[in-house]
Every structure is written in structure tokens, then in C-alpha cells.
């Protein structure tokens, strides 16, 4: 094929082939009107509309696959590390994982249920939830001066781990607002807690046969926890005397044995 040089510039030239096609080529010292045999023609980018659609389809398929994989991959369920019972007058129970994140919160009694109604605990740790529950209790007039906040943890390890911080957090929340006592201990250490739940009045009342305990949340793997304290325990028979006993037992009340964990 021969090419006729139709135009020359320093950086390129325009040539026409014998089939009437015009090309941009390298100007290898050509002159206007030259007939050349073997030019270096600039490669033309052929637009391929199908290529665009192919890429678009590939993206859609990849996205769909990712979404499918995302929704099909089982989300790891939180593993129960410990349950933390907060008894003010309302009693609530939160389930926490090993990092301290609260993944379940339930009211043990009617007041507890009412207290946490509408409260969003998701993504919060045990300190935040405890603090906010105390705030709620103060706001709802459940907590007043002279009362006791009892925090019970059903796992010895968790008690060591979370106990000091929980007590500190609770004290921080009530400081300057109400003159209450904060007690932190093993689940079942404070009989008064159960008593308070079942009988808010100081006078002894018949107790239910079992202590209300939170039902396990579906899909949650539970670690072995100490059995709940049975109400058949004779301590329940006299709430006021039990309260005094509790002050002297092995539980961690403020300024007592609990200092071991500070």
C-alpha cells in the first residue's frame, strides 16, 4: 500500500492511503506530496461499546456475589462471658461478652422492664450501660438517698475484671446527686438484692419459690454460671436480718473486702 503525504507538521504528518483512508503518522522527514511505502501510523483507539457493557456487567456480578457472600456468611454470635445484675429497686440484668460489650439487657421485674423500655444498649460496654441505668433510675425517682445499688456478677473472673470499674462508675454517677451505697459482689452474695426485687417494702412478705432469673437469649452461647440462689434459703425468711448479715458477709461492699480488687 502506498500513502500520499497530505500534510506535514513537526510532530506528525497526515497521509492518505490508496483506499481513501486518512491516517496520522510519524513524520520521518517526509515532505508534502511524497508517496511513501512504510509509514509508522498512529494506532487508533477503537471504541468498543460492548467492552463498556462487559465491564459494567462484571461489576454488577461481582457486587451481587459479594452481597450474597456477605449475607450467607453466618455472623458470629456473641459468647456470654458474664451476667451483671443491677438492683436498685428495679432490677435489670445485662449479658456481656468477654470484651465487656453488652449484647442483651432485660428487666427482671416489672419496674426493671419499665426502666429500660426504649433504652438502646447496643454497641455499649458494661460501664456505659450501668452508668446510664443509674441515671435513668435517678431520673425516674427509683433511686433516692439512703438506698443501695447492688451490682452482682455471676462469674468470678468477670467480677475481678469488671467489678472495680463498675463500682467506680456507679459512684461517679451518684456522686453529688443521691447519697446511696454501692455494693459489688458475686451473684447471690447479696440476698437483699433478691429480696428488694420481690419485696420493695421493708416488711417481710412471702417470697416466690424461685428467684427470677433472666431467660437465656436465643442464639447465645452460655458459659457455665453459678446456680441462682434458691429462695428456700432460710435467709429470705427475715429480710431485715439478712440485710445486716449481708453487710458482714464475704461480699464486696464499699470500703470493705472489695478493696482487694481496687
Amino acid at each position: 500500500m502506498k500513502y500520499l503525504v497530505m500534510d506535514t507538521k513537526m510532530t506528525y504528518c497526515i497521509i492518505m492511503d490508496e483506499m481513501g483512508a486518512f491516517h496520522v503518522a510519524a513524520n520521518l522527514n517526509y515532505h508534502l506530496g511524497d508517496t511513501i511505502d512504510d509509514p509508522l501510523i498512529m494506532k487508533k483507539e477503537v471504541k468498543k461499546p460492548w467492552l463498556k457493557w462487559t465491564f459494567a456487567s462484571a461489576w454488577v456480578v461481582a457486587l451481587a456475589t459479594l452481597l450474597l457472600l456477605y449475607f450467607q456468611t453466618p455472623v458470629p454470635l456473641p459468647v456470654l462471658y458474664s451476667r451483671i445484675y443491677i438492683s436498685i429497686n428495679p432490677e435489670v440484668c445485662m449479658s456481656v461478652d468477654e470484651s465487656g460489650e453488652v449484647f442483651a439487657l432485660e428487666g427482671i421485674d416489672e419496674e426493671g422492664k419499665a426502666l429500660i423500655e426504649g433504652y438502646d444498649y447496643k454497641g455499649k460496654d458494661e460501664l456505659t450501660v450501668t452508668g446510664e441505668i443509674i441515671d435513668l433510675a435517678i431520673a425516674e425517682n427509683y433511686l433516692a438517698s439512703g438506698m443501695t445499688i447492688t451490682i452482682e456478677i455471676d462469674n468470678e473472673e468477670a467480677l475481678k475484671e469488671f467489678g472495680p470499674a463498675l463500682r467506680q462508675e456507679a459512684n461517679k454517677r451518684i456522686e453529688g446527686r443521691v447519697d446511696a451505697v454501692v455494693e459489688v459482689g458475686n451473684y447471690g452474695s447479696f440476698d437483699i438484692a433478691q429480696e428488694t426485687v420481690t419485696s420493695p417494702s421493708p416488711s417481710p412478705t412471702p417470697l416466690p419459690s424461685t428467684v427470677p432469673s433472666p431467660s437465656p437469649s436465643p442464639g447465645v452461647e452460655y458459659l457455665p454460671s453459678p446456680p441462682p440462689v434458691s429462695n428456700n434459703d432460710s435467709n429470705y425468711q427475715d429480710a431485715s436480718s439478712n440485710y445486716d448479715d449481708r453487710q458482714n458477709n464475704s461480699a464486696y461492699s464499699e470500703g470493705s473486702n472489695y478493696s482487694n480488687y481496687d
Binding site: A26, N29, L40, M42, K43
Partner: protein
Amino acid sequence: MNNNELLLQRVIAAKEDLDLADELIRDYLPFIHSECAKFAGKSLSLGKDDELSVGMLAFHEAIRSYSRLKGAFLKYCALLIKNRLIDFARHEKHHQGHLSLDAPIDEDGHVLADVIADKDDKQKAMIEHEATIDEIEELKNVMHQYGISLKDISENCPVHEKTKEKCLKAIAIAKDHPEVLAELESTKRLPLNSLTALSGVNRKTLERHRRYLLALLLIYTNGFEIIRGHLWKMTRGIKL
């Protein structure tokens, strides 16, 4: 605005405009020179060494094909220049051993063509060459009257074989129907209706390559015998 952004803007503008591309390449000639010299392993001079022309063409190609996804422009450009020079070196190697009419045969600068061509042929060729130049200049002037340039046509040239065939079919029809060429000259516009009716080619296809068709139809109007003579393959190859 930093230099990179400025360069990028110039590249984007030059994508659609050969003149802007030419301007950009002139500004970046030292860069091209350096890349070509690096490849050739020697100092190169403009007008003597083909490597520089190849480098400039590669720069043109880089401007056309560049997108942000391809990284920094100058790095991309350097890569394209290198690839083009490798191709060129292979091509030259392939043609080694072939005699060139322009090859110097003595120290006085005489070339092979001077020895083998007799005086009459040389004179004839010179006259023909001058006539060709005149014709090309005349065609450029006529095209200018129609608002098109060679640069536009090179951009508007059909690429796909089927489109080429359709365009050539329309040209052949116009060539055989002088009234179509007359309509072109009188209206100074591409007679799309007549071409579509006579050739049966889709109007959109013809519209898309309007400038290219216009240029070729102008070649088939009066004059431009030399250029028409060059297009003998086209005339023969048109399938009606």
C-alpha cells in the same frame, strides 16, 4: 494549580485536537529527546534520526489513550515511547539488507536514486511532485471553504471495515451520479438525502462520517486528478 494538574489539563484538551497535541509535544520535546536518547544510547538530532519522530508519534498516542487510571502521564508516556522504539527497532532490523534509493553511496552526499534514475525521469518526477503539492494545497483550500480540514478528516475517518464499505459505497454512488456532486457544489453541504436514497446506506452512518465523505466527494469533483489517481485501489475495490 501545580504542574501535574496543568499537564493533565493540557493532555485532556489535546486528546481531541491535533494542534494542541502538537503544541504539547513541542513543549515536551526535551523529555522525548531524553527518552529516545536513553533507548538509542546516543545523542539524537531532530530531522536526522527517525527515533525522535517515533518518540513524537508515541507521545501523540499517549495523549490519545491516556486516562487517570494509567497513572502519571509522563511515566505512561515514557513506557509508550520505549515500546514504540522497540517496535521500530524490530521493524528496521527486518528491513536490513534492503537497498534504499535514498541510501548515500559516496561522501559527496549522492544517493542511489541519483545514479539509477536518468535525468528525464528525475525531472518528470519533480514536475509530478510539484503538481501533487499544488493539488493538495488546492484541495486544502476547497476543503476550507466547506469548513473542514485534513486534521478533521483524519479524526473522522471510519475505522470498522463495514463502516468503511458503507462509506465507499456512498462515494461510488455519488461518483456515478454527477447530479449528487453538483448538488454538493451548489449547496456546499453533503447531499445526505440523495446519498441515502441512492446508496441505501443508513443516514446516521453517513452523518457520523460527514466530514470524511465530504472530503472524498470533493476529490471526485473537478480537478484533483493526481489525488484521484492515488485512490485507484479505492475505486477498484468499491463493492456496489
